[in-house]
Subunit: 221 residues, 8 copies
Amino acid sequence: MLEVAELDLGRAERRGYPEAIYCEGKTPEQVRAIAERLREAADDGTTTGVVLFTRAAPEHARAVLDVLPDAAHDEASRLLAWPPEPPLPTGTLVAVFCAGTSDLPVAREAMLTARYLGRETELVVDVGVAGLHRVLARRGLIERAGVIVVVAGMDGALASVIAGLARAPVVAVPTSVGYGAAFEGLAPLLSMLNACAPGVGVVNIDNGYGAGHLAAQIAAR
Amino acid sequence: MLEVAELDLGRAERRGYPEAIYCEGKTPEQVRAIAERLREAADDGTTTGVVLFTRAAPEHARAVLDVLPDAAHDEASRLLAWPPEPPLPTGTLVAVFCAGTSDLPVAREAMLTARYLGRETELVVDVGVAGLHRVLARRGLIERAGVIVVVAGMDGALASVIAGLARAPVVAVPTSVGYGAAFEGLAPLLSMLNACAPGVGVVNIDNGYGAGHLAAQIAAR
Amino acid sequence: MLEVAELDLGRAERRGYPEAIYCEGKTPEQVRAIAERLREAADDGTTTGVVLFTRAAPEHARAVLDVLPDAAHDEASRLLAWPPEPPLPTGTLVAVFCAGTSDLPVAREAMLTARYLGRETELVVDVGVAGLHRVLARRGLIERAGVIVVVAGMDGALASVIAGLARAPVVAVPTSVGYGAAFEGLAPLLSMLNACAPGVGVVNIDNGYGAGHLAAQIAAR
Amino acid sequence: MLEVAELDLGRAERRGYPEAIYCEGKTPEQVRAIAERLREAADDGTTTGVVLFTRAAPEHARAVLDVLPDAAHDEASRLLAWPPEPPLPTGTLVAVFCAGTSDLPVAREAMLTARYLGRETELVVDVGVAGLHRVLARRGLIERAGVIVVVAGMDGALASVIAGLARAPVVAVPTSVGYGAAFEGLAPLLSMLNACAPGVGVVNIDNGYGAGHLAAQIAAR
Amino acid sequence: MLEVAELDLGRAERRGYPEAIYCEGKTPEQVRAIAERLREAADDGTTTGVVLFTRAAPEHARAVLDVLPDAAHDEASRLLAWPPEPPLPTGTLVAVFCAGTSDLPVAREAMLTARYLGRETELVVDVGVAGLHRVLARRGLIERAGVIVVVAGMDGALASVIAGLARAPVVAVPTSVGYGAAFEGLAPLLSMLNACAPGVGVVNIDNGYGAGHLAAQIAAR
Amino acid sequence: MLEVAELDLGRAERRGYPEAIYCEGKTPEQVRAIAERLREAADDGTTTGVVLFTRAAPEHARAVLDVLPDAAHDEASRLLAWPPEPPLPTGTLVAVFCAGTSDLPVAREAMLTARYLGRETELVVDVGVAGLHRVLARRGLIERAGVIVVVAGMDGALASVIAGLARAPVVAVPTSVGYGAAFEGLAPLLSMLNACAPGVGVVNIDNGYGAGHLAAQIAAR
Amino acid sequence: MLEVAELDLGRAERRGYPEAIYCEGKTPEQVRAIAERLREAADDGTTTGVVLFTRAAPEHARAVLDVLPDAAHDEASRLLAWPPEPPLPTGTLVAVFCAGTSDLPVAREAMLTARYLGRETELVVDVGVAGLHRVLARRGLIERAGVIVVVAGMDGALASVIAGLARAPVVAVPTSVGYGAAFEGLAPLLSMLNACAPGVGVVNIDNGYGAGHLAAQIAAR
Amino acid sequence: MLEVAELDLGRAERRGYPEAIYCEGKTPEQVRAIAERLREAADDGTTTGVVLFTRAAPEHARAVLDVLPDAAHDEASRLLAWPPEPPLPTGTLVAVFCAGTSDLPVAREAMLTARYLGRETELVVDVGVAGLHRVLARRGLIERAGVIVVVAGMDGALASVIAGLARAPVVAVPTSVGYGAAFEGLAPLLSMLNACAPGVGVVNIDNGYGAGHLAAQIAAR
């Protein structure tokens, strides 16, 4: 087990944000070993702040909860956080816009990540471009936010539409929602990279964690 | 020369729409020979209706105009029509929405094709999604049209936005306008194929002729 | 649950066609909640016309039928419609041509969508290009239709062949039927986008719903 | 110069077909040196049969003709043959079907290659699928041929249509004719690889030489 | 069931080769119905020659064997043939070269197809390019064959190597054997399309049936 | 000319940032007309702040400078700005890291855009990952910056390396610098989207303007 | 069974390295038959050195262990070796750097292959670029190694970073670890092929065996 | 000019190999400035060993030769070296195999790079797989070499064939030689990555410099 993972416990100090454990591709045993080392580090006072476990399948979650039973667990977004309490929010508001119901797990991952990294968050669901009035009805939130996360699959058009309305920077998350020529998220990825309105930074397909992290950094000041 | 091209002069009767000559990949001599055969057919009374020459480079255009000096020539869209007079319009209105100035050649090709195939047309330029108010200001036209052609490069988001507002079917034309991850029109092509609003039929990248033809067929009745 | 979906109940009025619920990527619980809201809206008289549930897996179908037990359910195409009676047909005929038996689920989805949106439909199966005489034997139908939906995988050649014979516009649906270099439907998608006969509008791979919707719009007048 | 090319002069004996010199990517000087060595080999009686120079740009052609002034040169297909006389034809008929005028250079390359490799050939031009009656009018030739070469760009549908009508094997050549989603010949390549009728062997995009060679081998017996 | 499939029973007469039923994507019930119609046609004397069922999963095979219990069934290649006896071979020899053990199912499908279409066949296994001496040891067979089918995944190099040694035409079948940058057969597909030796016709990835059919046609005379 | 472009002069007020004119794909005449309208708007007092002309070829630049002779022109990045004076900087520092000399035009476009949008900027050149000590020598700047723009082609690894060291958000710009398997910028694009350190937002290939705009928004507060 | 596999038992002598059996795509029965032939060959004294079974699923492993019960089996990397003892190491040190825990199976396959081919090996885990200090802390090993294997998914940046620090050649193994725009390993593959530091040779995605083999060859002298 | 390039003059000491200047994408002025700094460093005694300028267009070459008139210049491979004398060779032999004449520029770049980095080299041209006897005739060289560089476009099969014969490691260089489905070198790149014989490390398409560098490192000991 010694060779499995070299935790970067000094990262919170170096980069200002805590470590996250990406569970996919790890065995439950490896995840459990990491959880144990985290608990030991916490007992020693080595780490500070919240640690996230992302993309945790049920068996990963069980391994974490066995070791850290008070961890918070959001099943939809496969996220665990420990300690379970998010810090008191600082910085500006992170608004998360979610195009369709199927994009919700990714949107929740973004929102929870930003929250656990210390930001106030607000989530709006099912505001796809096909019903433009739903977007326009949120102009107040668009103006109030310090950064906007847009989560959309299929045509990814919501990123362009919102960036065209916003003063704040937009973090765009393409999702693998869709089929056929969506090519597992390629369509919204390309669409967002080519957003006709400037002010859009794109993260990987389905990368709610990365979007929440980047949004938290942008909204820090 | 005999082996060059077998004109489908009966096509107007069979399909209801005249032949078009795609010039790209043909030598000017081949185009000239076709023009000559068309003039002969017209002298014999074999063909009816307008014939279009599409994607005509300047040397193609000169070859056509040498033989058919009264042909109409739109340089921006590289289109020639002969005889030069479009027929009296029938059917419903074909509205062409063009996202940006750079998309204009393709949009004009679509508009002129529909017009020469017998439809009334209206063209709106520079109504990209980045400035949504420009689109919303055209709601009257969107409601009035029998079919809407949307021409857009980059994110191709305009197709989704307009389809979400329209009762009429939308013919979407992705363009090669853009760079980098637009991949010569792949980005708007995929975006339009994944339009989150139903009612969108997509044609090939930069295919203004095909869009105008399809729109004319849809607006025929 | 409140954050799950914001139904666009005014869409029938705005766009002239009712809402459809895309089930893939939604949990059965989310689909059930939507069905309940629809029933409430119907009880309140808020919605009009038929609502479709598309790409419903068996567990989605059960959730819908629990709430709306009289919904019509076509298992092959994974479609449910409620209320179950299609409206009386208006407009012109929607003809659906299906290249092979394996394309049938998509073809049925197109046909049923058009029917529930108020059109008369006719479906022809197994008319692939490999046996051209089967296509040629349907020339009567090709001439009679107001719009033709072509459903084909593999080489997608049927779209070109039928468009070359038809006066009516063609809506082409590539399917993921095939293997290897069909690349999950990419081959017929590209083939249809490059149809050598004009008059073809393409929808997403396997998108029977979108094709039926577009065809219904085209055949409306 | 010694390190430039090691001619495979024994190939005619080993494989039964003579060497061809692919000029693209070679300098005119390199091509000239090869021509000189060929002439020397002929003077020595080392080689037998015709040698082809393929994809010869005008400067390549000049280099060849300087050394071998009686070489036959077909400018459209960029092919040179020396000695200029094709052998007396043996085997069965090679029929070449060319979908559009723009595909003609590739079709001629296929036809001439087969002819110089000793087959009788027949070329039909502009028989695209959009005008199906043109194909059907050639059923006699389709039945008479020992092998059929189909040259087509865009949707590549002609290969499927002809294979569905023929008893003879079909050699399909996708061309880079087209634009946008034809992706430099990818669309007809995939279409032909997925031909719904069996009996189709595909060669590289624009590879008229390879198609003519393969057809000559098939028609040898 | 009536709408399921329109069997092309006249195909044997028209093209000279019998129909094959592609099972993938069909339900076992659909396959059973086709088998029943075939048996009825045989009882009526309508069809002649062998019919093949390709890509038959175990449940498809059971459906066929229920109706046609004497059908021949090769599990490795998922092929069934009925009647079970191949015709007496005519024409020249079809040699099938298989690069690795994992390519064997596809190679067997090619060999059996050619055999049931009336050719003599010979299969050589595990002659990959990594051990060139194994290929060179088969030069006698390479010279004796009327057509050679090469089945290979990964680098697909065997097609080039054998075509460089053979007088006979080569039918190349890329397989999905491999991983990573083999991209489900894309690597050998491209490699074979770019074979540096002429005389190679390529079929779809894993398309043993198509390769056997084409080889049988080539070897017919 | 009237139909060419509908300037979004209210954008500065709506989004907080001025309009930019993307010159590629526009004719010099169209660019000149836009410049004239801008000058008129400035005379009328309709616009506020700087307007940028991006991707201006020499002929575009001449057209702008004819109308607005005092415009600032950076030839390397093909950028023009008018009025030529950038505003007094506000917000935090925008640091631009440029991996190689060939990436410099894109890096300068990013830097100048941020400067004209009101930020203080600092540019570091030739700090590729191959010489890691050059990056590590800039740790002071990495800590001081409010946002970091990373411009890199080829492997795009600089984005990951810097994000792993920084507290500030990173805007990553892949460039088309490279050849072969860089696929016109696809390699660094994918690499940056998959940066193993969180906190990276990606813009389109070669999109220095978009990166500078996004960085200016992030550094605003 | 006779047709299944033609073992290349002379390969150790010809190439200097023993045969490996790639289990994926083989049935357990085929693998068992190979194991039996190996044991017979060993009994006869025909083979020398270790034989590896790679990518062995549990059922493959059982088949091998049934026949060769003393074979060594590393479950994580799905590798079996027989005889189980690696040879005494010769040549220089093979250092394996593994970017993340999820890349460990591939890294172990590389390390074990090199060890069984006769090299001393050293494995370092979890030294991703996001925490650069972990890489820099291994400079001693980087200088000491005769060849370095770098195993990384996602951005693949570790290969560039280590090559920029090393005098020894680097063998880079992209892995399929990641999601979305990692496209099953395409992102690190392209990144490594475009490494900005020279001295990197790339093997197939997840090809730990190939990397270990190549490294063993390089470190032989 | 100060911001243009930060030369890594300590690289020879750190990595053991001198710096190379990649000219593509640099202006001639930038290349000249670098040449001047190199001359100054040489005058100061700061650098040691040869410096290479790669991918130098004629205007780059003139800029270098203006400043360093005694530099060696190989026009075919666009390489310049200064000082012009390669070091006395150490280590083992680097053998370069070049599949076709068109691949020669890349092969020469590899050979010259290895030579200037201190190795003995030997170049063999036109040994494509289509004429296998040419490869087999070089078995002596294959056995004698310490490392083998294989340069091939199109099917890239030469890498597999040679690796299957060699004890030494193979560095494979795919080239962009070919057309159509060679996709600018993608076909040989994938083929080489999937070489069925182990012992192949692949570099970027057309990357002769990288191959020569890696080969020199491998052959160092």
